[in-house]
């Protein structure tokens, strides 16, 4: 600023700038969509050669994980139908976004997920057993059996626990990203949300705060075309979600979310920009939710099988990556190897379900812990009351289901 005023007051004094004015009515009517960044085509052919830069080992690990998640999701979906877990959400069709993104981030980056990012969790090391135990809610669950299935969280992996209210995590990530900036940390806050969640007020708050206050925050929108049954046509107008970001003054990328190389490169670039500029970055991934919203959903009620199949066979992230690896000679293994990976995952999930279902639930006392940092007097009193009641009516309650019983 030319004039540094004594009390650091900003001046909004009027200044005539002739170039600011037009003398006829010429409204903005065209909303030219931002193009999707792509590296490989639908058949896995390399188009943008300068982005063929991901280490071979990383690519293979990513591919292994994507097919593993597909198997795990399949089995856990079926286990819900069999009554082994109460609820589940698959991520069919979207694992290039979650796995690719997390591979391109640093382990110290905090992730604020929505609910369909098992790819993020598992890339960082969250195990099948941890997933199954959370879905069952047994005493091995890191969340102490407090939440519905798929509400994972991991302090060790810097992934904040999932919560059901949509979009609430997004402005929280703005806050976290602010803290990282003012403390000079080489860390970002990366937050996931769907295109439906982006309709919530919290999305607007988050974007405005992040850019205005310069937060080291990465916004990651999975536009998978449906919010439960609501198609994008009922959700928004304008140029998808990415079209909104420049209006906040934010750097923006729209990426073909089923192109693993584009995802990885785009996120790597975004992270570098965030740390360099100390400003947020927005990425929208265009992808498709091949599966149902959840085990409580039956999506053929609102979309055609033809539509689903057009993506499943026409634009499938696993197929595209697999073809790319084969064509580039980067995948040393044959199909038998991949089938073995899938079989091993299936067996592991089955074993985890069996072992998990044999475990007890967290203790009765864990109903009352963690409401505050300590169990406060009024909660102690209520706990005592409950114990007395359970003792008196012990035959009416599944006491032994809880670790430690009474």
């Amino acid at each position: 600023m030319k004039h540094f005023m004594r009390f650091s007051k900003i001046s909004n004094a009027f200044k005539e700038v002739p170039s600011q004015y037009v003398y006829q009515i010429d409204p903005i009517k065209n909303f030219e969509p931002i193009k999707q960044f792509r590296v490989i085509d639908l058949e896995g052919n390399l188009i943008a050669k300068e982005y063929n830069n991901i280490p071979k080992e990383t690519l293979n690990q990513i591919f292994d994980l994507m097919i593993s998640i597909e198997e795990m999701d399949n089995l856990l979906y079926m286990s819900q139908r069999q009554g082994k877990i109460s609820f589940y959400m698959t991520s069919f069709g979207e694992t290039a976004t979650t796995v690719g993104t997390t591979a391109a981030l640093q382990p110290q980056d905090f992730i604020f997920p929505q609910y369909r990012e098992q790819g993020s969790f598992m890339w960082r090391g969250f195990t099948i057993e941890q997933i199954v135990n959370q879905c069952i809610g047994n005493h091995l669950d890191g969340g102490k059996g407090r939440q519905m299935p798929v509400h994972y969280g991991s302090k060790d992996l810097n992934i904040v626990t999932v919560s059901s209210p949509l979009t609430t995590q997004v402005p929280q990530a703005s806050g976290a990203g602010y803290g990282f900036r003012v403390n000079g940390e080489n860390k970002i806050a990366a937050t996931w949300f769907g295109e439906g969640a982006a309709s919530e007020g919290d999305f607007h708050s988050a974007m405005n705060f992040a850019q205005t206050l310069k937060c080291q925050t990465l916004f990651l929108c999975r536009n998978n075309h449906y919010a439960i049954s609501t198609p994008t046509d009922d959700q928004f107008r304008g140029d998808t979600i990415a079209g909104k970001a420049p209006a906040y003054g934010m750097r923006t990328l729209k990426i073909d979310g089923n192109d693993l190389l584009a995802v990885y490169n785009g996120v790597k670039y975004a992270r570098e920009q965030i740390i360099k500029n100390k400003e947020p970055f927005f990425i929208e991934f265009i992808t498709y939710r091949i599966g149902d919203h959840s085990t409580s959903d039956h999506s053929v009620l609102y979309r055609s099988q033809e539509e689903i199949d057009s993506w499943k066979s026409g634009n499938n992230p696993i197929n595209r990556l697999g073809l790319f690896l084969k064509k580039q000679g980067l995948r040393q293994f044959n199909d038998d190897h991949d089938n073995q990976i899938r079989k091993d995952v299936r067996n592991r999930v089955i074993a985890a379900l069996k072992h998990g279902s044999e475990q007890q639930s967290p203790s009765i006392q864990d109903l009352f812990t963690d409401v505050y940092d300590e169990v406060l007097p009024h909660l102690q009193e209520q706990y005592t009351e409950l114990r007395q009641h359970l003792t008196k009516y012990k035959d009416q309650y599944p006491i032994n289901k809880f670790k430690g019983g009474l």
């Binding site: 806050g175 803290g179 990282f180 806050a189 607007h204 708050s205 988050a206 009024h378």
Partner: protein, 349 residues
């Protein structure tokens, strides 16, 4: 009353009551100056403390953050965009990664856009994560209560909405010395706290406030006046009104015990019970509307614990079940005459 002294890393001392503080290093301050002093102490002692909200940078619409931006810089004391839901969420996010977030909501009448973040997120952050995460270092400060001309949207007392939310703490100070100690305790408490500041007292309440770093214990009610015949319970601005009503009753030979709840939730039930068991009569008074106000909760609690000791029904003297009015404010408020009348009815029951 035991004197509790514990020295914390910031050189803070912790007390149960303000009267326990023996410091002679004091300065005359009003409520906003005491708040300002508390914020200054925390920002000075804790490099991870941040203060933010609408208009916080220039000093705040009530001067609570006066001088703090100049002293600590714009990274730490700053304006947010005009968005309460954003302020709440931003604070939660900061706290979840280890910062001490002191968020200001300019009027508690406008806290409702942040209600989802406060109730569904802040209050449940620790519990739902199995204690892997928490936002205990979040404090939300907000102005509160009648001011004489505020009408519907500059006078509300929304404490009851938050007292119904496990995982939160809710605190309301009655004057500058309490405010400073309770605010520092709230900021340092390892749970999210909503700290309501009675705006009517920002300039009107003055005291010789200790300049030290001190905290007053949360979830401890204070007997501000001993009495024999009846217990009067209130908080914030209403304590003054209870004192005035007690003076009127004294002329009739009725001795009133006055208790300041201080922490609305979780409240100190033991102090209330001890008092009502002694006096046998109880009045609870607050500006907030009657139905489902704190009076309702405390009445239920006290009658449960003190039933056989009660000589008269517990009476609530509160605002009416209307939105907060403008020209009707003088007849809406639970003033000293309404409380005096309730005391008489209770004593003559």
């Amino acid at each position: 009353m035991q004197l509790l002294r514990r020295v914390y890393q910031f050189g803070s001392t912790k007390h149960r009551f303000a009267s326990d503080i023996k410091s002679t290093n004091r300065q005359k301050m009003n409520l906003f100056q005491a708040i300002n002093n508390a914020l200054d102490i925390e920002l000075g002692a804790n490099p991870k403390a941040l203060l933010f909200g609408e208009d916080v940078k220039f000093g705040g619409v009530f001067r609570c953050s006066q001088g703090l931006n100049e002293k600590y810089g714009t990274d730490r004391v700053f304006n947010t965009p005009l968005c309460e839901q954003g302020i709440g969420a931003f604070g939660i996010g900061l706290a979840s990664v280890g910062y001490t977030a002191i968020a200001e909501i300019q009027f508690s009448d406008y806290i409702f856009p942040a209600f989802d973040q406060i109730v569904n997120e802040a209050a449940k952050f620790r519990y739902r994560s199995g204690n892997q995460f928490d936002c205990g270092s979040l404090t939300i400060r907000s102005t509160w209560g009648a001011v004489g001309h505020g009408a519907l949207y500059h006078s509300q007392s929304p404490e009851a909405y938050f007292a119904h939310t496990p995982g939160l703490k809710v605190v309301v100070p009655r004057d500058p010395i309490q405010a400073k100690g309770l605010l520092l305790a709230s900021i340092r408490d390892k749970n999210p706290v909503i700290f309501f500041e009675p705006k009517a007292l920002y300039r009107n309440a003055e005291d010789e406030v200790p300049l030290d770093d001190y905290e007053l214990e949360l979830s401890k009610a204070e007997v501000v006046q001993q009495g024999k015949h009846i217990t009067l319970i209130g908080y914030g601005t209403q304590i003054r009104v209870l004192k005035e009503a007690a003076k009127l009753a004294e002329k009739d030979g009725v001795s009133c015990e006055i208790i300041d709840l201080q922490t609305i939730y979780p409240y100190d039930g033991q102090t209330l019970v001890d008092s009502v068991k002694k006096t046998g009569r109880c009045i609870i008074s607050h500006e907030a509307p009657q139905t489902c106000g704190m009076g309702a909760e405390l009445s239920a609690f006290i009658q449960e614990k003190c039933f056989l000791h009660l000589e008269a029904p517990i009476k609530r003297v509160t605002g009416y079940d209307t939105p907060f009015p403008l020209v009707h404010e003088p007849i809406y408020l639970p003033d000293k005459f309404k409380i005096y009348e309730a005391i008489k009815q209770s004593v003559n029951y």
